[in-house]
């Protein structure tokens, strides 16, 4: 049965940027990468109930009960001061969800939905829940037609994907850098698993979109772009490549020193990819 529960940072019933169409998005808490450029660093850590956030809350929405941080959403006024206070980039406002609760939300919003996306954090770290959720969606007649997508950093190993892919319709996969040293610098981890995952997903016909974050002076140089081009070429077929532009809002202190990626730079990178024969290149519609 679907007794498995997930730690959820947020659920959206309207999203137009997490896969094709309008999607229900479940942001699962916790990530095994530690990207300085992360726009939602409060989704990285997992609460250890240290209690540092409790005094930071001016709305009495947080308390310590039996050594655990307890969140009362009815008092919260969304000032986010608790996120600032958290020493480990966790989020005391997370909620536990069971599969059935997500299904109920999906049924309620069914006419507006093209599909469901699990994002994060890194959603595959809560693999059992994702599999249970996707299986339940596929088995539910009232939800027929909804597709199931994952937004991932690609760190999941082959055996994990083997379990997940039969119930998954598409994956949006981030490659942070093609240079392994730079990748470690940007994320704290090596890129080998992510590159392997991209190939595996592409071979399985489930790679919906390969995403690449352009950071000025780091990943927007010719060497990185040519490595991206080579990689996409060796995948073969018509891969959709989404170029994202680094922006400063939301990121932690170290990345605030980095320059935002300008539209001109993104357009130049896109041109380089297109000139190399990559036809399906998507660039951001909006720059803040």
């Amino acid at each position: 049965m679907n007794s498995v529960r997930a730690t959820v940072s947020k659920v959206l019933t309207y999203s137009i940027v997490d896969g094709p169409g309008n999607r229900l998005v479940v942001f699962l808490q916790g990530c095994n990468f530690d990207c300085a450029a992360c726009h939602n660093p409060h989704t990285i850590g997992e609460c250890n109930h240290c209690g540092d956030c409790v005094p930071a809350c001016h709305a009495d929405a947080l308390s310590l009960v039996d050594g655990k941080v307890v969140f009362d959403p009815s008092n919260c006024d969304h000032c986010d001061d608790c996120l600032e206070a958290c020493p480990i980039d966790a989020n005391p406002m997370v909620r536990e969800y069971g599969v059935e609760e997500i299904l109920a939300l999906a049924r309620e919003h069914r006419p507006f939905l093209s599909g469901i996306t699990v994002s994060g954090g890194e959603p595959t770290r809560q693999l059992k829940f994702v599999v249970a959720l996707f299986e339940a969606i596929k088995a539910d007649e009232t939800l027929a037609g909804l597709d199931c997508f994952i937004d991932s950093n690609g760190s999941l190993g082959a055996s994990g994907w083997e379990v997940l892919l039969p119930v998954t319709d598409g994956v949006m996969l981030d490659i942070k850098s093609f240079d392994s040293a730079l990748h470690r610098d940007l994320t704290g981890k090596d890129n080998a698993k992510s590159l392997r995952a991209a190939r595996l997903l592409h071979d399985a016909g489930k790679l919906h979109e390969l995403r690449f974050l352009l950071v000025p002076g780091k990943t927007d140089g010719d060497a990185e772009l040519d490595a991206l081009i080579d990689f996409v070429r060796t995948l073969g077929g018509d891969v959709r490549v989404k170029l994202n532009a680094f922006q400063q809002h939301g990121v932690r202190a170290v990345a605030r020193e980095w320059a935002p990626m300008p539209k001109t730079g993104v357009d130049r990178a896109a041109e380089r990819l297109r000139a190399a024969g990559i036809r399906n290149v998507v660039t951001p519609a909006v720059y803040v």
Binding site: G21, N22, H39, N40, H109, P111, G250, V282, P284
Partner: protein, 511 residues
């Protein structure tokens, strides 16, 4: 208060107005020197207090507010009055329409309805190749925008998927003109996915067309059909609306001691006064003005029996919040289930009142309820049943909050859903939102693609509080000009501006 002559003089000498605009305002001032159609004292007082409102249409209605000619008549038979033979080619058909538009009055003097264009033009397109059709429509579209520059001039296409409709969508996205306004009538049974997907790409490019729920509208009218005109009015084809009056629900709620008093006494009282105001204006148009003796009626472009009375309401949001305050309840309209339910109940009561009240010289003997979208000088009164500007929730929550109202407003109701520019990479989402809205009972689907996205940029969620904090820090490191510019930018985004302007929004000089 200016005396009449000096007001006329100030219009004549106003360097900001074109000659045509001066002529229009002078005509309105002259009309308003005449006595108003007869009103009883209570109606008169309610009008003066603007609890009920005549949209400043003028003191002597001499043409209907909205005229929806059946242009197929002139395309089939030509016109004796205009000395036009029946057209035989596409060029002749469009030329005939271009002439016809200049003889169709409305409250602003501009035609508000230019026809079900694909249905009108398809019979003339046999043997016309695609390039010729495209070029012909392109020039036609340019002509419309340049000679009839009013954002309320409205073209309809659909519900079938056809080459004229597709060419119009192509041209409309390329030219990105304010005029004409455009509605695609959509019916999942007959339209097909292709034309809806094309319309979604157009919306991403230029916020047009509106998409109308054809099945619901068709049900509310008859075989002769309906048209969508101006800024979201749905009216009988070959007829129109004699007048549009409206009730300011906020002012009604303010005059009630609480919810019970509102429903039992104050609202019914003001509804009746608005019915009387409406009837008096209609009587003048039909009995005194001579409008229906003209060639439009004689040649069968319009039928005087097919003119309805639009019974408008607005400021539902403020009315609900006022009643919530009076009852000591905190929930706000658009966000709280109980507040939303109170709004839905008000709409149901309005609908029942309009259905019950006989009207003379009105299509089917009853007025049609309309969610009225505002005048430029409405202050602290939200159009129709909309959620106040700048506070709207996401489009899905927005639709779900307002959908239960839609079944009641046969003469039109519109909400503007704001979607960020990311939609240009994902127009499928617009298709899904439209289908969701229609499945929820929405009569029409309008999207404004914001030119800035504060909330979500990439695949990540971005918190508004992050942006606020970031900008504050940024501002403290730079000069006050930048800070001011950013604040202005933020305010500009959070308080959505009116999407279009047009003559109807400014009914009189200095108003």
């Amino acid at each position: 208060m200016q005396d009449p002559l000096s007001k006329l003089r100030s219009i004549v000498n106003d360097a900001t107005l074109s000659a045509a605009q001066k002529a229009r305002y002078l005509a309105l001032e002259a009309e308003n020197l005449l006595p108003y159609p007869p009103l009883d004292a209570k109606t008169q007082q309610a009008l003066e207090e603007r609890v009920i409102c005549d949209m400043y249409e003028g003191h002597a209605p001499y043409r209907p507010r909205y005229v929806l000619p059946d242009y197929s008549v002139v395309l089939r038979e030509g016109s004796d009055y205009l000395e036009l033979p029946p057209p035989v080619s596409l060029d002749e058909a469009i030329n005939t329409l271009m002439i016809a538009y200049h003889h169709v009055p409305s409250i602003t003097g501009m035609p508000v309805y230019i026809g079900q264009l694909d249905e009108l033009l398809l019979p003339f397109c046999e043997g016309v190749d695609d390039d010729t059709l495209y070029e012909t429509i392109r020039l036609f579209w340019r002509y419309l925008d340049r000679t009839l520059p009013d954002a309320f001039m409205h073209a309809n296409i659909g519900p079938t998927d056809n080459r004229v409709a597709r060419t119009i969508l192509r041209v409309d996205a390329e030219l990105r003109q304010i005029a004409p306004n455009l509605t695609l009538l959509y019916d999942p049974e007959t339209s097909g996915d292709g034309i809806l997907a094309m319309a979604a790409r157009n919306i991403a490019a230029c916020c047009k067309p509106h998409i109308a729920n054809h099945a619901v509208h068709a049900d509310a009218f008859d075989e002769r059909g309906y048209g969508i005109v101006s800024c979201y009015n749905v009216l009988p084809l070959a007829g129109g609306a004699a007048t549009l009056t409206r009730v300011n629900l906020k002012e009604v709620a303010r005059r009630a001691s609480g919810e019970a008093d509102f429903f039992d006494d104050v609202l019914p009282r003001y509804l009746e006064l608005n019915f009387r105001l409406t009837q008096s204006r209609i009587d003048y148009l039909h009995d005194e003005s001579g409008f229906f003796d003209g060639f439009l009626v004689q040649e069968g472009w319009i039928d005087r029996e097919r003119f309805t009375a639009m019974f408008g309401v607005f400021a539902m949001a403020e009315a609900v919040n006022t009643l919530q305050d009076k009852e000591g309840r905190e929930g706000r309209y658009g966000f709280d289930e109980a507040a939303n339910a109170l709004g839905h109940r008000i709409s149901a009561v309005l609908s029942e009142a309009v259905r019950k009240r006989p009207m003379d010289k009105v299509w089917r003997g009853r007025a049609l309820l309309h969610s009225q979208a505002g005048l430029s000088d409405d202050k602290a009164a939200t159009p129709g049943v909309r959620i106040p500007y700048g506070t709207e929730p996401d489009p899905v929550t927005h639709v779900r909050a307002l959908a239960p109202h839609h079944r009641y407003y046969d003469a039109g109701i519109s909400e503007i859903l704001t979607v960020d520019e990311s939609i240009t990479n994902n127009p499928e989402a617009l298709v899904q939102l439209c289908e969701g809205a229609f499945a929820s009972g929405f009569r029409e689907f309008t999207v404004n693609v914001a030119n800035n996205d504060l909330v979500r940029v990439t695949g990540y969620m971005v918190r508004l509080s992050d942006i606020r904090k970031f900008r504050e820090q940024q501002g403290s490191r730079t000069n006050t000009t930048v800070l001011g510019a950013e604040a202005a930018e933020l305010t500009g985004i959070l308080d959505r501006k009116p999407r279009v302007v047009g003559n109807e929004l400014r009914p009189g000089y200095g108003q």
